[in-house]
């Protein structure tokens, strides 16, 4: 029966591929190439880092394997947290569950089908990122392809084990607390775990490992480097197995591979056995809504009705709260990183304050991808309400823009003002970078609404499908291109400012005027083009 269920996925995939138009083939091929490029970039970065580490006398190789063990530990925790969220939606809220639960299929088979789907979606991307790292280890340590083959052979049980922890936790949690409220708690809990994990990794200041002045300290901890990293977790078994494969000790490798495969199968078998008794209780409870009366006062609305609706629905969705926790963590870590930068001269600090337009701009664009870009698509099946109402598309877009712009500007102000304060940037640089960041925030926000309207997806199951769509890719690429051009244009006045500081040359007001005109023109185009295209597309959307 499981084979039949898995076959339906293969059939669906086959049908999708067969129905691809030439445009879709080209588009997906472009995505595939972009993905390969990204992986190559990662590989190159890892290779340079590992080359640097292994060049350090005495402890170089130890450092490389320590880093490998840490990478695997991080992968394990990320897949586990990710599978918490994925298993919640796939095991308990998938659209096809209603059909599967009614069908004469055993509960364990449905669980197997859905948990394998959860494990796959929770781990494939994180697992894929390990590949360029392991290839970098292979290159740096001059190992043959047998090393990579050894890695590929033990990666599936490692990822399955990591995902099983999350799936098992969700299974038990929903069994013990069978309520849709549990879903909300898991969302917040998972996001909090991610924030804490991200914060802990950052506050550990891993960059100190590769700074020459910290190497003495590292040398003192040679023993620490040789010690296992979380010896009882599968990440260490994999790290130990890979180390054995690198040294050609295939017997030791086979033992670790057997442990990984054995543990994965055993844990999964326990899960499947548990599912027979627990899965249905959780599934049934998850369907039950929670009732909580909300009294509505008929006071006059202080904002337009659509803005009011956006505000109310946004705050009531627990997923948004968990995302806000993540953003809080991200902003905190960003500012911490700025604070830890080894900058001694005031000139260098001012330069970094200017370059902050680029990095903070990237953060704003990433936030836009999560909150602003999907806002049109998130109307979903309720889009008919606005489409039938006496509102034109521009009004809808303006109100969505207003809703996104306020928090975006708030985050931008925190990033801009705090960074300038931490770096003690000079007055001119502080004003220029803050002004540029505020304009970037507004334009990127308008681009998010414009591209969101240009590529609306009203029939998706979750927000990740909107973010990872072609429209999301185009929005992100266009935003980054715009931020890059902003930096390039504003580099002229910054260059003149630094020249004046160093007493080399005075201001050329013609160049300054040209820079201002170019900056205004860039913002005008970036504001108007996606907005107009989006409005027209949404007006004609069928």
């Amino acid at each position: 029966m499981l084979a039949l269920l898995l076959r339906r996925r293969a059939r669906s995939l086959g049908n999708t591929l067969r129905r691809f138009t030439r445009y879709e083939w080209t588009r997906n091929l472009a995505f595939f190439c972009a993905g390969l490029g990204l992986l190559y970039g990662l590989h190159h970065g890892f290779y340079r880092l590992l080359s640097y580490l292994t060049a350090i006398e005495l402890i170089g190789v130890l450092l490389m394997w320590k880093l490998t063990a840490m990478m695997l530990l991080m992968t394990l925790s990320m897949v586990t947290v990710s599978s918490l969220l994925t298993s919640l939606t796939t095991l308990y809220y998938s659209h096809d569950l209603c059909f599967l639960m009614k069908a004469p299929v055993s509960l364990r088979t449905v669980f197997l089908d859905k948990s394998l789907e959860s494990a796959f979606f929770a781990s494939w991307m994180i697992g894929l990122i390990l590949a360029p790292y392991v290839l970098a280890v292979q290159r740096v340590a001059h190992l043959g392809w047998s090393f990579f083959a050894a890695f590929v052979a033990v990666l599936p049980p490692f990822l399955l084990l990591a995902a099983s922890f999350g799936i098992g936790f969700t299974l038990l949690l929903l069994y013990l607390f069978p309520s849709s409220r549990t879903r909300d708690v898991v969302w917040v809990f998972s996001s909090l775990s991610l924030s804490v994990m991200y914060g802990l990794v950052r506050f550990a200041q891993p960059e100190r490992l590769i700074r020459p002045d910290a190497l003495k300290v590292v040398a003192e901890y040679l023993g620490f480097l040789q010690a296992p990293t979380a010896a009882y977790l599968p990440s260490w078994w994999l790290a130990r197995g890979l180390q054995a494969a690198a040294r050609g000790r295939w017997g030791a490798y086979a033992r670790d591979a057997a442990i990984l495969w054995g543990a994965a199968l055993a844990v999964y078998a326990v899960l499947v056995a548990l599912a027979g008794a627990t899965y249905f209780a959780g599934y049934s409870g998850a369907q039950e809504g929670t009732l909580k009366k909300r009294v509505h006062s008929y006071s006059r609305l202080r904002v337009p009705p659509l803005l009011w609706k956006e505000w109310v629905t946004f705050l009531r969705d627990v997923k948004n709260w968990s995302q806000m926790l993540l953003i809080g963590g991200l902003v905190f870590v960003y500012l911490f990183s700025i604070r830890r930068l080894p900058l001694d001269s005031p000139d260098l600090r001012s330069l970094i304050a200017f370059l902050n337009v680029g990095t903070a701009g990237f953060v704003i664009a990433a936030l836009g991808l999560r909150f602003t870009f999907p806002s049109v698509s998130l109307e979903g099946k309720a889009w008919w309400i606005l489409r039938c109402a006496p509102l034109d598309v521009s009004q809808v877009m303006r109100q969505k823009f207003a809703f996104s712009a306020v928090p975006t500007l708030a985050v931008t102000l925190v990033l801009g003002l705090m960074t300038n304060q931490i770096l003690d940037a000079d007055h001119f640089t502080a004003c220029l970078s803050l002004g540029a960041l505020l304009s970037v925030a507004l334009v990127v926000c308008a681009m998010g609404i414009g591209f969101g309207a240009l590529f609306p997806r009203f029939s998706v199951e979750n927000i990740h499908q909107i973010e990872s769509s072609l429209g999301g890719f185009v929005y992100m690429a266009a935003s980054l291109f715009y931020i890059m051009l902003t930096l390039a244009i504003l580099a002229w006045p910054m260059q003149m400012h630094f020249s004046q500081r160093f007493g080399r040359a005075a201001w050329d007001w013609r160049v300054a005027a040209f820079a201002v005109a170019a900056w205004l023109a860039l913002n005008g185009v970036a504001l108007a083009l996606p907005w107009t295209l989006g409005r027209k597309s949404l007006e004609n959307h069928e």
Binding site: G289, K293, H296, K381, I385, R387, A389, P390, D392
Partner: protein
């Protein structure tokens, strides 16, 4: 009043609506029938401005839907085939939102929203999130939203689906009362009994074209099936012989 002239809608090479001409008068309840895929929902979407026609024109309450879009939309209310409503709003808040969108004065909303919730027997459910509503409750909520802004034209796509018998009876009485007040009602339905009892005129659409249109008596003449009920007329127009042949598979 709804006026449709030469309405055509094509999706690529597929023609969903092929040259529809129709006029529905004020105070009339008009039934729009047809087998699945006949083009009924597409026609509803064209009337309400959710789709752009390939050719032809639609006027609602005297306003051209393509040229005077906002006026036409203000004069119209839609109950779609899938009554999807914002899950994170309460029933009361949804009605408030609709009232604000259509410019219903606040004083009217204070009075009308509780009345409508009571009429559709929401009780304390009006203060609960829509995500906890059943399909029928959502259907009633969307209907209440329409009644709140009291449009001249009501376009209803399967309005009775999911309603319990008492609510269905209430909704039928509401439609009759609204028609009596001069409102135009355009209703797609598969429930032939309701169409037969409720509608002044009925159109049967097949493969994007109108196969028959008129009162029950006129349909009997058009189908050359005197004395038959609407179900028999419908089956004869949409392929009753084939239907009989299909039964052999049972």
């Amino acid at each position: 009043m709804i006026e449709i002239e030469g309405l055509v809608k094509r999706f690529g090479s597929y023609t969903a609506v092929a040259g529809l001409d129709l006029r529905v008068e004020s105070g009339e309840i008009f039934g729009f029938l047809g087998p699945n895929g006949a083009g009924k929902t597409t026609t509803v979407k064209l009337i309400t401005g959710l789709l752009k026609p390939t050719a032809g024109r639609v006027r609602v309450a005297g306003f051209d839907v393509a040229l005077q879009t906002l006026q036409a939309k203000r004069a119209m209310g839609l109950v779609p085939d899938e009554p999807f409503v914002y899950p994170k709003l309460t029933g009361t808040e949804y009605l408030r939102f609709v009232g604000e969108l259509y410019g219903v004065p606040l004083a009217d909303m204070r009075k009308r929203v509780p009345e409508l919730l009571e009429m559709f027997e929401f009780g304390s459910w009006g203060a609960e999130l829509v995500e906890s509503y059943s399909h029928g409750m959502r259907q009633k909520l969307v209907l209440a939203g329409i009644l709140l802004h009291d449009p001249e034209v009501l376009v209803l796509d399967e309005p009775m689906v999911g309603l319990d018998p008492k609510s269905a009876r209430l909704v039928k009485d509401i439609f009759l009362k609204l028609a009596g007040r001069g409102r135009t009602i355009f209703m797609c339905t598969h429930i032939l009994g309701i169409a037969e009892k409720l509608c002044d005129r009925i159109a049967i659409m097949i493969e994007g074209k109108m196969a028959a249109c008129g009162t029950l008596e006129e349909l009997q003449v058009q189908a050359k099936k005197g004395g038959l009920d609407l179900e028999e007329i419908f089956l004869s127009l949409t392929g009753g012989g084939e239907y009989a042949a299909l039964l052999r598979y049972l």
